[in-house]
């Protein structure tokens, strides 16, 4: 069912383009999130850094997840730690926008988040897979409460603006009907003997039995309107009680219309290794884990510090920086060692004294475009009118997705939707607009799926990651070829400097990549310092 199994034979970018051409946003998104790096986290428990020499100092550049994890662990191990952070806050891309927060993007457009208390949007990462052991372990150790994140919601929508009169379809209808139709077709082929060369008589019988269950087929292997299929795809009139009207079976979508719509192509996403249950989110916003780390190391962190040069000699590392808000005289920080977690999109523009191979690696990673919206509505119409609690709707419109909030389910009142999560060419086009124009476009798009938008929309915020002053992009989108060429050079300790972040991991764009990269780098640095390598 997956469109892609072997990314090695074709460049990643080519592949993404082909997927974008043929299958639309969901598959593009699915591919973006998994290609070439769908593998379990290598986390092996808390890092062991015993025997740190007294007085040895480490300067950490960047207070995102990688920098915060390093500061937390190195300080506990006895190192003298200082952290320089460009933003006026810690957390980096592990970030939550709430009412009162302000954000100024490149180009000078300033947004003020006007969400009501308790409402938020995560403009960066927003979910944690069950196999991201590092993230889960820090949440556990720091006592950050988690709650389930449901990627899949059978009552959310799949939407093609060109099919079914533009009417969004329930995920469960597409799911049930697609399975029903392919089971019926395959049964026909088996019963006509068209698979005799492939299957023994026994296996044909076994297959037919399983197809009847899998596709909810009748005794003649047909997928039809019935009690059984309504138990699968739902009823037109729900089952009630007493003298309420009797239930009405629902009618499956015709096979040709379903195939023409391509909506079944969206169904790969929630079954991906990185996106299957159980997934989690921190209660109150994704930044809770980063903030818990930060609360432990805050006195070590200098905010508003814009690094302008990184130098090293045989005795240590010297970093020049300026006040990111006010500019002024350059300041200097010196330490025995340096862990640099600055995104490569930024670091490639900063003079840094490292070997040629590492420098080439720093300059080799293109940063992907992505845009995320948070839209506040006067009421939770997706729950009240449409019974959608959490999960994601997918659409061929520019917003590509609508994500429904987990927090505050079924409690009434206002709510904030993830009003769009955009990749590919659409993301560049949104990036070229003002925030106000982007939000207007997201509201226009969303209203085609939820007409209530028109009446209920209140305010919104949007983060287009190529406008982000602190990352200039969403994540390091290594091609397989560039990774093969540069990855080892990027991850080496170069003199007294090591790099860390999602860009130095095989889990790009995931916080787990930043955590593992940080632990791996400081572990190797520690061994070097204590002289065991």
């Amino acid at each position: 069912m997956r469109p892609v199994q072997n990314p090695l034979s074709i460049s990643r970018r080519d592949l993404l383009r082909k997927i974008g051409f043929s299958a639309g946003a969901a598959m593009m998104y699915q591919a973006m999130s998994t290609l070439g790096f769908a593998r379990e986290s290598d986390y092996r428990g808390p890092v062991e850094l015993s025997g740190a020499p007294k007085g040895t100092s480490v300067l950490i550049l960047g207070a995102g997840m990688a920098g915060l994890v390093a500061a937390y662990e190195l300080r506990r191990a006895g190192y003298t730690v200082k952290v320089l952070e460009y933003n006026h806050r810690a957390g980096g891309r592990s970030w939550t926008l709430r009412g009162g927060d302000e954000y100024t993007e490149l180009g000078g457009h300033k947004q003020k988040c006007e969400f009501d208390p308790g409402l938020y949007v995560n403009p960066g990462p927003w979910r944690i897979p069950y196999h991201h052991h590092g993230m889960l372990d820090y949440a556990r150790r720091l006592k950050v409460p988690l709650e389930p994140f449901n990627q899949l919601n059978f009552n959310a929508y799949l939407h093609s603006s060109k099919d079914f009169g533009g009417k969004p379809q329930r995920y469960r209808h597409i799911y049930a009907d697609y399975h029903g139709h392919i089971a019926e077709l395959l049964s026909k082929a088996v019963n006509k003997g068209q698979l005799d060369a492939e299957l023994t008589t026994e296996d044909k019988e076994r297959l037919l039995v399983s197809l009847r269950t899998f596709g909810v087929l009748d005794k003649d292997y047909r997928y039809v309107k019935s009690f059984a299929t309504s138990e699968s795809r739902g009823y037109d009139t729900e089952r009630g009680a007493g003298l309420m009207p009797p239930p009405q079976f629902s009618t499956p979508i015709a096979r040709d219309a379903l195939l023409k719509s391509g909506l079944a192509n969206y169904m790969v996403t929630p079954f991906d290794y990185d996106l299957t249950p159980s997934m989690f989110q921190p209660v109150g916003g994704m930044d809770r884990i980063a903030m818990a780390l930060y609360s432990d190391v805050a006195p070590l962190v200098e905010l508003d510090a814009k690094v302008t040069a990184i130098d090293q000699d045989e005795r240590g590392v010297s970093v020049t920086y300026v006040d990111a808000q006010r500019g002024g005289e350059p300041k200097h920080a010196r330490a025995d060692w340096c862990l640099c977690t600055i995104p490569l999109s930024i670091l490639s523009e900063i003079p840094i004294k490292v070997s040629e191979p590492m420098l080439a690696a720093i300059q080799a990673a293109p940063y992907e475009a992505s845009v995320k919206f948070g839209l506040q509505f006067k009421r939770r119409f997706w729950e009240e009118d449409e019974q959608i609690y959490g999960g994601i709707s997918f659409t061929d419109l520019p917003i590509q997705m609508i994500g429904y909030p987990i927090a505050g389910m079924n409690q009434g009142g206002k709510g904030v939707l993830l009003g769009g999560y955009v990749w590919g060419t659409n993301a560049y086009e949104f990036n070229s607009m003002t925030p106000e124009q982007r939000i207007r476009k997201a509201v226009e798009s969303g209203a085609q799926i939820h007409p209530q938008y028109t009446k209920e929309f209140e305010n919104g915020v949007v983060v287009s990651w190529h406008r982000s002053p602190f990352t200039q992009g969403c994540f390091a989108n290594w091609s397989d070829a560039a990774r093969d060429k540069h990855y080892d050079n990027l991850c080496q300790i170069d003199g007294r400097i090591a790099l860390a972040g999602e860009h130095a991991s095989r889990l790009p764009a995931w916080q787990e990549g930043a955590v593992l990269s940080s632990l791996d780098a400081i572990g190797r640095m520690h061994k070097k310092i204590v002289g065991t390598v």
Partner: protein
Amino acid sequence: MAKPALSASVRLCRNLASLLALALCAPAVVSADEEPPPFSPPGSFTDLGHFAHQDGATLFRAICQGCHMPDAKGAVGAGYYPALAGNQKLASATYPALVVLKGRHGMPAFGDYLSDAQVVEVVNYVRSHFGNQYPDALTPAEVAKLR
């Protein structure tokens, strides 16, 4: 404000006028005095795999200005986006064509998203605007060779 050039997406928006009115009446999320006219939304949003526009000016507004800014003077944050205005690296048309096709540093490659003709259009546009006045024009055949 002029109606945005959303030609291809108008078909997607049955109630475009009322929705625009709605959005404009909504509480401002952007300070009014920071709303500059040059940004307009030229996005066609027709396909994830390629950009629809063909002329250089529109391609610049749909893609490049997002980072290099409407005046092509670039932007500065923790790092920076270089200015294309008055940029001497544009003296040879090959350099910007290669950067567009293959990317450079953090800038992604656009070769898969743009045809040879589109690359020609946008490179020639940038090399003849924003204080750049290079008379020689890039050709699609040259772009094809650079791919």
